[in-house]
Amino acid sequence: MEYETVIGLEVHVQLATHSKIFCGSSAAFGAEPNENVDPLTFGLPGSLPVLNWSVVEFAIMLGLAMNCEIRKFNRFARKHYFYPDLPKGYQISQFEEPICERGSLRVPIEDAVRTIGIKRIHMEEDAGKNIHDSRTQSSLVDLNRAGVPLLEVVSEPDIRSPAEAGAYMRTVRQLVRWLGISDGNMEEGSLRCDANISLRPSGSLKFGTRTEIKNLNSFKFVEQALEYEIARQMSLLKSGKEVIQQTLTFDSATGATSPLRSKEESSDYRYFPDPDLPPLVIEERSIHEIQEKMPKLPEAWYKELVEVYGLSAYDAAVLTAERSFVEYFREVFEISSNAKLACNWVTSELFGLLKKAGLEIHKSPIKPRDLGTLVKLIDSEAISGKMGKLVFEEMFASGEAPQTIIDRKGLKQITGEDQIVAIIKQAFEKNPGQLAEYVGGNDRLHPFFVGQVMKLSSGTANPKRVNDLITREINKLRGAA
C-alpha cells in the first residue's frame, strides 16, 4: 500500500522586542545567568504582568503577512504545570482566543509554490532554562529567557514531506526576519519547532494516528527527524502494527526519535483566562496603522524584481532572501539606474567580499549610495569595469566614496579624442619597428598597440575608443604612404 505523509508544524518564534512580554526586563540573548530578571520574571509574590504592546504589533504584522484574520477581542490564559524553569507555575499564553487565525503561507518549493494553511498564531511567554550540572549533580535555573515573547505559529496539516517542512520553516524564518520581528536565529533558539506527523493510505481522507516530535531547532533536524519518523511509522504500518499517539524527542547524535517519559506529556494544563490581564481589545485603526508600517513583503518584491526590474528568477530569489538585500539593491539601483548591473555588483562582488570578511550587509563598509555611484560610473564608461573592481576593493577597505579614490589615484577614464591620439602617437614613436610592420599590412599587431596605449595611460584610456582611434591613425598613415 502507498502511504501519504501528513505533517503539521508548530513554530515558536522568539520576538526581537527590547523588553519581555509582561515586564520591563531586557529580552536580549546572552546576558549573564539571571541578569535579566525582576519580580515578575522571578515569580515573586505580588508581581503582576503588564502587556508589552510591541508584542501585539509584531503578532499582527505576522498575521497580516500570513493572510490571517486578526481577532479584535483577545484574552490571555494561564497554562499550568510545575517545572523549575517556569517561575509562576503557569505560562501566560493564549488558548481559545489566539490573536491570528485562518491564514496561509505561500512556500516556494523547487520551481513550484505550495500554499500551507495557518491555523493560528498566538502570543505567549517563553520559559527559563534548566541547566544540569553533572559535576555537582545539581540543576541550575537561568530565568533570563523566562518572559521573552514568543509567537506560536501553528500550521494546518498541509505539509506532505520533510522537504516541504524544511521549505516551510525557511519561509517562516525569511518572513519573520523580513518583518524585523525576530532574528530567526535557530542556534540561539529564536526559532524552534514541534512537528506533528502521521501517515495515511494514499487517497484516504482520514488522518492516521500522529506522533509529535518536540523542540527541533534546525532545518536539518526538522527534516532528519521527520524522515526517521516516516520510516518508523511506515514499517509499523506495513507490518500491520499500530502507531501509538505519543510525544517524541529527537536525538541529533543518533538521528532517531524516542518517546518522552509519559509523565511529561499527560498534563492537564488547567487553562483559564488570566485575571491579572484585562481583555486585549484591538481596534481596526490599530490594524490599519500596523498595515501602513509593514514593509513590502518578499513575494511582492520577487514579482517586481522579475517583472519590473527585469531580473532573472535566480537573481530575484537571491535578493529577496533578506529584506536588507533588496533594500540595499534598491538604493544602488536608485543611483545607478541599471538593475542588472546593480544586481551583479551587489550579489556577486559585494556579497563575495562581505562573506570573506564575515560581515552582515548592514555592516558593509560600502554604503549603497557609494556602490550606486560606482555602478553608474562603470555603466557610463567613465571608468572601465576592470578599474571599477579596483576602486570597489579600495572602497571596501577604506569606506571611501568612489570619486575620492578615482581622483586620488587618477583613475578617471580618458575618453577625449585628442588625449587618446596623443598617447597613440607616443606608442607609435616608441615602437617604430612594429609600427612599420603594422602600417605595412600586418593587422595582427593591432592588439599590441592597444596594449601599449593602455599601459601608457595606466589603464585609464577607454579601451573601445583606443581600439577605434588606433585603426583610424593606422589608416591615416597607410593613406599617407
Partner: protein, 487 residues
C-alpha cells in the same frame, strides 16, 4: 486626654503640625502599647528601629513645614502586602522567612504621603478565612472578648485599630476580609471599587476579587487613608485610570433624599436577631437623617457563596503555584526528586484551609469539569453583578445591610465546619463578585457586648458617597467611640 494612642489620625496630624506632639513620641507610645498587648497576637513583625528612624525623618519634615496628608501617622499593614526589607509572610510557613525586595504600590503611596509603617499584621494564611484561626502563627484575639475571633482574614489589622495599637491599618478584602473583621471589632473598614487601589506588591489570593482596603476608628480617618492609597498604577493592568477625588470632600454634607436600598434577600433566616435589631435601628436613624429607605431585590444572592467558592479557589490554585520551594520560601529537606521536592515543600508549607482551596480550585479548573464549574460560576457572577446594576439603576443610590449575619463567634466554634465558616461571608461576598465599593461601620452591640457592623454598598467609584453617608450616621451615634475593655 492623656493617652495619645486614643487620638484620631486627624487629631494626631494637627497636633504634630502644631508642635504639641512629636512623631517619635507617638510611634514610641504605639510600640510600647504593642509590647503590652502582645497577647492579642495582632502583629507578626515589628521593626522598632525602623519605625523610630522613619519617625525621625517624619518629624524633620513636619518641622520643615511639610504638609503631607498622613505625615507622621503610624499605619499597620496586613502581612499580605509586600514591604521591602521587612518580612512578609502571608501568615504562612511557606513564606515564613520571606523578605521582599520591593514594596507594594499601596504602601509606597502611604509612605509618600508621610505615613510610617508600624509593622505587619496577622491574618488568615494567604487571606483564606473569616476568623483568623487559619494563621500559621496563631489566632488573633478579639479585644472585645479575647475568647472570640476578630473575624478575618484581615483580623490582625482590625484588632490593631480596634485596640488602638495603630490609628490606621491596611487590609485586603477578597470576600469580606476587611468589612467582616471591621464589623466584629467595632471599627470602620472599607473595600473600595475593584481597580481603585493597585494590587502590585499585594500577594494574590484571587486576583479578580482581591482589593486593598483600610481600617480606621472613624469615618474621617478612613477617608484620609483611602484617598492616600488609591490611584491608578501602570504596574497593575487591572487598576483603573479614574481620578481619585478627595474622599473627605463630601463629609458633613447631609443625606436628605438619599435612597437607601434594603435588599430583602439579606434580611433572612440565619441573620441573628440581635444583629437584625441593630441594623433596623440604624436604618431608622438614617431615615431620621433624611434618607429614604426602599426595599430592593438582589435575586441571585443565594448563589453568591457557591460562586465565590468556585472562582476564588480556582484563581488561588493558580496564584499559589509559584510557592514551589525552588526560588524562595520553604523548601523541604532531604528530598531526592523534583516531584517529591514540590510535594513535600508544599505539604509542609501550606496549612489545611489553603490546601483545601488549592484542591477545590485545581478540581474546578480540570479539563472535563471546567465548563460545569468555572464557566458556569463566571456566568452566575455576571448575574450577581447585574442584580446590583439593576438596583442602582432603578431603585437606590446606596445599599444598606448587615455586614455579617452574626457578631464575633468563639475561637474554635466553627473551625471544624468550613461550610458554616464560609456562610459567614454571605453578605460581603456579592460585593467582591460585583467589584463594588463596600464598607462597614459600627452600629451597635449585642448583649454580650460584641460589636455589630452596618454594611454600605455603593455604585462603582462612589467611595465618597459611601463615606458621606457613613459619616452622617457616625455623627449622630457614638458606637465608634466605645473602647474595648483593655483600656
Amino acid at each position: 486626654m492623656s493617652d495619645i494612642t486614643l487620638l484620631t489620625a486627624s487629631e494626631m496630624v494637627s497636633q504634630m503640625r502644631a508642635g504639641q506632639l512629636s512623631c517619635k513620641e507617638l510611634c514610641q507610645a504605639f510600640l510600647n502599647k504593642l509590647e503590652k498587648q502582645k497577647g492579642l497576637n495582632s502583629f507578626l513583625t515589628i521593626a522598632p528601629e525602623k519605625v523610630l528612624a522613619r519617625a525621625e525623618e517624619a518629624q524633620a519634615k513636619i518641622k520643615a513645614g511639610s504638609k503631607e496628608a498622613l505625615l507622621g501617622i503610624p499605619v499597620a499593614v496586613k502581612d499580605m502586602i509586600l514591604t521591602k526589607d521587612l518580612k512578609t509572610t502571608c501568615a504562612s510557613k511557606i513564606l515564613e522567612n520571606f523578605i521582599p525586595p520591593y514594596t507594594a504600590t499601596c504602601v509606597n503611596n502611604l509612605e509618600s504621603r508621610g505615613a510610617v509603617v508600624l509593622g505587619k499584621t496577622n491574618m488568615d494564611e494567604f487571606a483564606m478565612g473569616s476568623s483568623n484561626e487559619n494563621s500559621a502563627f496563631g489566632s488573633v484575639k478579639n479585644p472585645w472578648n479575647p475568647e472570640c475571633v476578630p473575624g478575618g482574614s484581615s483580623g490582625g489589622s482590625a484588632v490593631a485599630v480596634a485596640a488602638r495599637l495603630a490609628p490606621l491599618a491596611l487590609g485586603t478584602d477578597t470576600g469580606g476580609s476587611v468589612r467582616q473583621p471591621a464589623s466584629f471589632c467595632g471599627i470602620a473598614g472599607m473595600k473600595p471599587t475593584y481597580g481603585r487601589v493597585s494590587r502590585y506588591g499585594v500577594v494574590a489570593f484571587a486576583s479578580s476579587l482581591d482589593q486593598v482596603g483600610g481600617f480606621a476608628t472613624n469615618v474621617r480617618d478612613l477617608a484620609l487613608l483611602m484617598s492616600a492609597v488609591s490611584g491608578h498604577d501602570p504596574m497593575d493592568s487591572t487598576s483603573v485610570k479614574v481620578d481619585v477625588p478627595d474622599f473627605s470632600a463630601l463629609l458633613g454634607q447631609d443625606i436628605k433624599g438619599l435612597r437607601l436600598g434594603m435588599p430583602k434577600e439579606y434580611f433572612i433566616e440565619g441573620l441573628s436577631s440581635e444583629v437584625k435589631a441593630c441594623i433596623e435601628a440604624a436604618l431608622k436613624q438614617l431615615e431620621k437623617l433624611g434618607a429614604k429607605l426602599v426595599e430592593v431585590s438582589l435575586p441571585n444572592t443565594e448563589l453568591a457563596v457557591a460562586t465565590y467558592y468556585i472562582l476564588a479557589p480556582a484563581e488561588a490554585s493558580s496564584n499559589l503555584a509559584r510557592y514551589d520551594g525552588i526560588r524562595y520560601g520553604h523548601r523541604a529537606k532531604g528530598t531526592h526528586e523534583l516531584e517529591e521536592l514540590y510535594e513535600v515543600s508544599r505539604s509542609e508549607g501550606f496549612g489545611e484551609e489553603v490546601k483545601r482551596r488549592i484542591m477545590i480550585g485545581t478540581y474546578v479548573l480540570s479539563s472535563g469539569y471546567f465548563d460545569a464549574y468555572y464557566l458556569r460560576a463566571q456566568k452566575v457572577r455576571t448575574l450577581i453583578a447585574n442584580d446590583f446594576r439593576t438596583a442602582f439603576a432603578k431603585h437606590c443610590d446606596l445599599i444598606v445591610c448587615p455586614t455579617a449575619p452574626t457578631t464575633a463567634f468563639k475561637i474554635g466554634e466553627k473551625s471544624s465546619d468550613p461550610l458554616a465558616m464560609y456562610l459567614n461571608d454571605i453578605f460581603t461576598i456579592p460585593v467582591n463578585l460585583a467589584g463594588l465599593p463596600g464598607m462597614s461601620i459600627p452600629c451597635g452591640f449585642d448583649q454580650k457586648g460584641l460589636p455589630v457592623g452596618l454594611q454600605l454598598i455603593g455604585k462603582p467609584w462612589d467611595e465618597a458617597g459611601l463615606l458621606k453617608t457613613a459619616y452622617a450616621y457616625e455623627s449622630e451615634t457614638d458606637w465608634h467611640k466605645r473602647l474595648p475593655k483593655i483600656h
